[in-house]
């Protein structure tokens, strides 16, 4: 399209044609010459000693090339999986970091823990042989929930973590909170569970690793959200390989939602083994393997209190959370229920003092790590369930109690470490109430009651910290990595552009949004901009995509590179136009001498840069290819108001979401179509958490009871409504695009809105997520 400025335009996605015609290339679609296949032998027990592994029989099975166990990895000095965020305990000691071996070293700690890998000529042969690997287990008692794991006498999972405790961490002024609580007119107290979720990107994790003897290098195709981080962690911390010898390619990736951020054991094992067998090795998770090996999300047990004065003005908040880490520390596990959780407990409100204490707990379950929202949905659930319940207890309208406590002046320093730069929470709520027709709700409720149905309305006003993250702040909080992003803008001689970004798209549409940013700044067509991502061999460096950071951080790096391109272009134009650089202006793709009609188009400058027959060689090098790194100065703070209206059939317990309104402030919007799509998807995952999804482990055996789509209830098309979505814009003050990020908001704001609506409909105080028909029916039919 001809689009001098396509910012704010719903440009159709450049990537769609390949996806719609079956030409997308996901990791499992890559098959290499002499391809071999891997299958993993996994623990059927939640907690056991591995006393013997006999592989003789399996080695004789047809097509088997090799079988490796933890013993082989230990002999080769392959390390365990590292955790990227150090949390310091309240006692001043570092968190407990038990070893996380890539293949079991004498012990397994959750169902699905990997014990051995079988490599064979075909996938069938690998799986057949894996069944013939004989493993002797001495089964140990298991503990799968945080409350039981913290009890005295609970089975101990790691000797290195007494009491199954990874850390006890706190934030805020405890003394001030205790004092305010004691003096308050009213304290609302809730105890609740934030249910464990299984991310379930529809593309299962997959790895295809190969080794070339020619230059002793590796290529790893992997379904991953941040290939450079994957490479850095794997080469420097696990395999001890020279980083430049490993190329990690994350090609088309079929959804991530956080679960593909992490360095997984399978990635390491296949990379290492590809050299041992000198063959490319491919592994693609079966869905049942995804359920028991992809990092899970949430799994908190919380007690929370909100103190207020007689007018409902918030005075203090106290939060105690036990958060599951699972059996081992996944890559960013430790930061999710601490740094990404407790810092958000101020929400949109002026609560002056807050104290949170979080205990990280090991359980015999799959590791828990970031899942869409990562800590912020859990924080929002605490705040918005408390606020709504407080409103009911104080007999104040739930919208009114929020308005009385909204932050109204910015920048605003919260009592939990963050400084919000900008927002307009009242306007966002007012817009949501208008779209949701809150005024008409009493009539709709009365009409439903005539049909024997119970209607309820629930609010949620969330905030999130995105654009992860200012490296120095993150470093001070324990991050073991920088959180900047890189971008490169390569202008070709014809004026066409290739952009190399460290961000990664696994559904977000960066190839389009980033092209819009570049095309608009350079005054060229979106069709003339290609975006390259997901390949350490092509992109210089990157930190990847998570925490709704791509446009705010990755996009800003590209803007900085564009500024360099334009500045150099001005110098070349000045030479061509025989003017001073300082007199050159660039607008709509044309360099002009200010105040004259002397002009040269962008394409001519690009050509001159590469065909420098008439060129200022004394001042400039040829070429027009610029790279920039951007480290944000603050987090961004997307915020919004969600209003959910439900109708419950008290006879069946079925909850129907009849209206769902989301008005979000994401700052400036580059592509509204893509942003709305992100909101729709996030809302559906949030509704999934609140209504249908819940990971269940058997308390006795530690078996995963929800290990397939037959047992784990993913939201389907007929479980959710069409959404009403709107935006309010306050531009982010500290990045040049004024953007905040939109990827996680839907999943953050929606669960409490839905539970607030259900509790409103039924006139009850609390219902556990997921609010299944059984739970709702029991609540609706409980004898008083």
């Amino acid at each position: 399209m001809s689009d001098m400025n396509s910012i704010g335009v719903s440009v159709k996605r450049k990537e769609d044609y390949r996806f719609l015609t079956g030409a997308g290339t996901y990791t499992d679609d890559v098959t290499l010459p002499h391809q071999s296949y891997a299958a993993f032998v996994r623990s059927p027990h939640a907690h056991a000693k591995v006393t013997a592994i006999r592989k003789d029989k399996a080695l004789k099975a047809p097509g088997v090339i090799a079988i490796f166990t933890g013993e082989d990895l230990a002999a080769a000095k392959v390390g365990g999986l590292p955790c990227g965020w150090l949390i310091t305990d309240v006692n001043g000691q570092p968190m407990k970091e038990p070893a996380h071996p890539c293949l079991a070293q004498g012990k397994v700690c959750h169902v699905g823990d990997q014990v051995a890998v079988v490599i064979a000529e075909t996938q069938h042969q690998a799986k057949d042989a894996a069944e013939q690997v004989e493993v002797d287990y001495e089964v140990l008692p298991a503990v799968v929930d945080v409350v039981s794991a913290l009890k005295k006498g609970a089975p101990l999972i790691h000797d290195a973590a007494p009491g199954n405790t990874c850390y006890v961490w706190a934030l805020g002024d405890k003394g001030a909170v205790d004092k305010a609580m004691a003096a308050a007119a009213h304290v609302t107290k809730l105890e609740f569970v934030n249910n464990r979720l299984i991310p379930n990107a529809i593309e299962p994790r997959a790895v295809n690793a190969s080794y070339t003897r020619h230059d002793e290098s590796y290529v790893l195709y992997v379904a991953n959200q941040n290939p450079h981080v994957e490479r850095l962690l794997m080469t420097a911390f696990v395999l001890g390989l020279p980083e430049q010898k490993v190329r990690v390619i994350a090609p088309d990736v079929g959804g991530g939602f956080g679960s593909k951020i992490f360095l997984y054991a399978e990635d390491v094992v296949l990379t290492w083994a590809s050299k041992q067998v000198n063959r490319p090795i491919k592994w693609t998770a079966e869905r049942s393997e995804s359920f028991m090996s992809d990092a899970h999300g949430r799994d908190h047990v919380t007690t929370a209190e909100l103190a207020m004065d007689k007018d409902g003005k918030f005075l203090a908040m106290r939060v105690r959370t036990a958060a599951a880490m699972g059996a081992y520390l996944s890559t960013f596990a430790s930061s999710v229920p601490t740094i990404l959780y407790a810092t958000l407990l101020a929400g949109q409100y002026t609560t002056p003092v807050i104290h949170a204490e979080v205990t990280g707990v090991f359980t015999n379950t799959v590791p828990v790590d970031a899942y869409r929202g990562a800590g912020r949905p859990e924080a929002t659930y605490v705040v918005e369930r408390l606020v709504e319940t407080a409103a009911r207890e104080m007999n104040i309208d739930p919208a009114e109690i929020r308005r009385r406590n909204f932050i109204k002046t910015f920048p605003y320093q919260t009592p939990v470490a963050l400084q919000y730069d900008v927002g307009d929470y009242e306007a966002t709520l007012a817009e949501a109430m208008k779209i949701a027709d809150v005024a008409g709700f009493p009539a709709r409720r009365a009409e439903a009651a005539k049909r024997g149905k119970k209607r309820g309305l629930g609010y949620s006003c969330y905030i999130e910290a995105c654009g992860l993250a200012p490296s120095s702040i993150a470093g001070a909080l324990g991050a073991r990595a920088g959180l900047f992003e890189s971008g490169e803008v390569r202008v070709h001689p014809t004026g066409k552009v290739t952009v190399f970004t460290g961000s990664h798209s696994h559904g977000q549409g960066h190839e389009t949004t980033f092209a819009q940013v570049v095309a608009s700044r350079l005054g060229i067509s979106v069709d003339d901009v290609d975006v390259v991502h997901g390949d350490t061999g092509r992109v210089a460096f990157g930190m990847g995509t998570y925490g709704s950071r791509s446009l705010a951080v990755g996009g800003t790096a590209i803007v900085k590179a564009l500024d360099k391109v334009v500045n150099k272009g001005k110098k070349i134009a000045a030479h061509l136009l025989e003017a001073s650089d300082t007199d050159i202006e660039f607008k709509d793709g044309v360099f002009t001498v200010a105040g004259t009609d002397k002009a040269v188009p962008f394409g001519a400058v690009a050509l001159t840069a590469y065909v420098p027959h008439n060129y200022p060689h004394d001042k400039l090098e040829p070429g027009l290819d610029e790279q920039a790194f951007y480290d944000p100065t603050n987090f961004t703070f997307p915020a919004g108001s969600h209003i959910c209206e439900v109708e419950i059939d008290p006879d069946t317990g079925v909850t129907k979401v009849v209206n769902f309104t989301a008005v979000d402030d994401f700052g400036n919007v580059v592509n509204p179509m893509i942003v709305e799509g992100q909101v729709h998807g996030g809302l559906t995952q949030g509704i999934g958490q609140a209504l249908t999804e819940g990971c269940i482990y058997d308390k006795e055996s530690g078996q995963l009871m929800t290990g397939s789509y037959l047992d784990y209830c993913m939201p389907r098309a007929d479980d959710v409504p069409s959404y009403k979505v709107g935006t309010k814009v306050t531009a982010c003050t500290h990045n040049p695009l004024g953007v905040k990020g939109c990827g996680e908001a839907g999943a953050i704001g929606s669960p409490p809105a839905l539970i607030n609506a259900i509790t409103d409909a039924l006139g009850i105080r609390e219902i556990e997520m997921p609010a299944t028909p059984e739970r709702v029916w029991r609540a609706a039919n409980k004898k008083a």
């Binding site: 069938h124 529809i202 079929g254 959804g255 079966e286 729709h680 559906t684 007929d718």
Partner: protein, 153 residues
Amino acid sequence: MKISMTVNGKAVSADAEERTLLATFIRESLRLTGTHVGCDTSQCGACTIHMNGRAVKSCNILALQAEGADIVTIEGLAQSDGTLHPMQEAFREHHGLQCGFCTPGMVMSAVDLVKNHPNPSEETIRAELDGNLCRCTGYHNIVKAVKAASAKM
């Protein structure tokens, strides 16, 4: 054993074990990797193809059960000059896809849906897409796309 069928209008045959699923045969033996596999319990629908004119989950049938069948995969839906089928075009126009992984199965199901329910209501579309999981779009724009395509098919 040798298995033969017509795929996207071409006669094809390849050797495969008896236990080979049709999805695996299409992906591995024919290298038509647009058909995706997202689960192992025939719940996600990413592998949906057309077999003798009906939408079928290709992970739920053996390749040899498709001996002699007429199969259409996502690669065979657009016209030979690359012009998209109205359903593909509607998905693009209405942003009915994000990561693209469920998309081939979703599109193949949706084509069958409209064939069986011309001019479907939103309720019908949602009910009929019950067999296809999407984790990205929240279905909102898929429903819009199917509705829009139904007017053009």
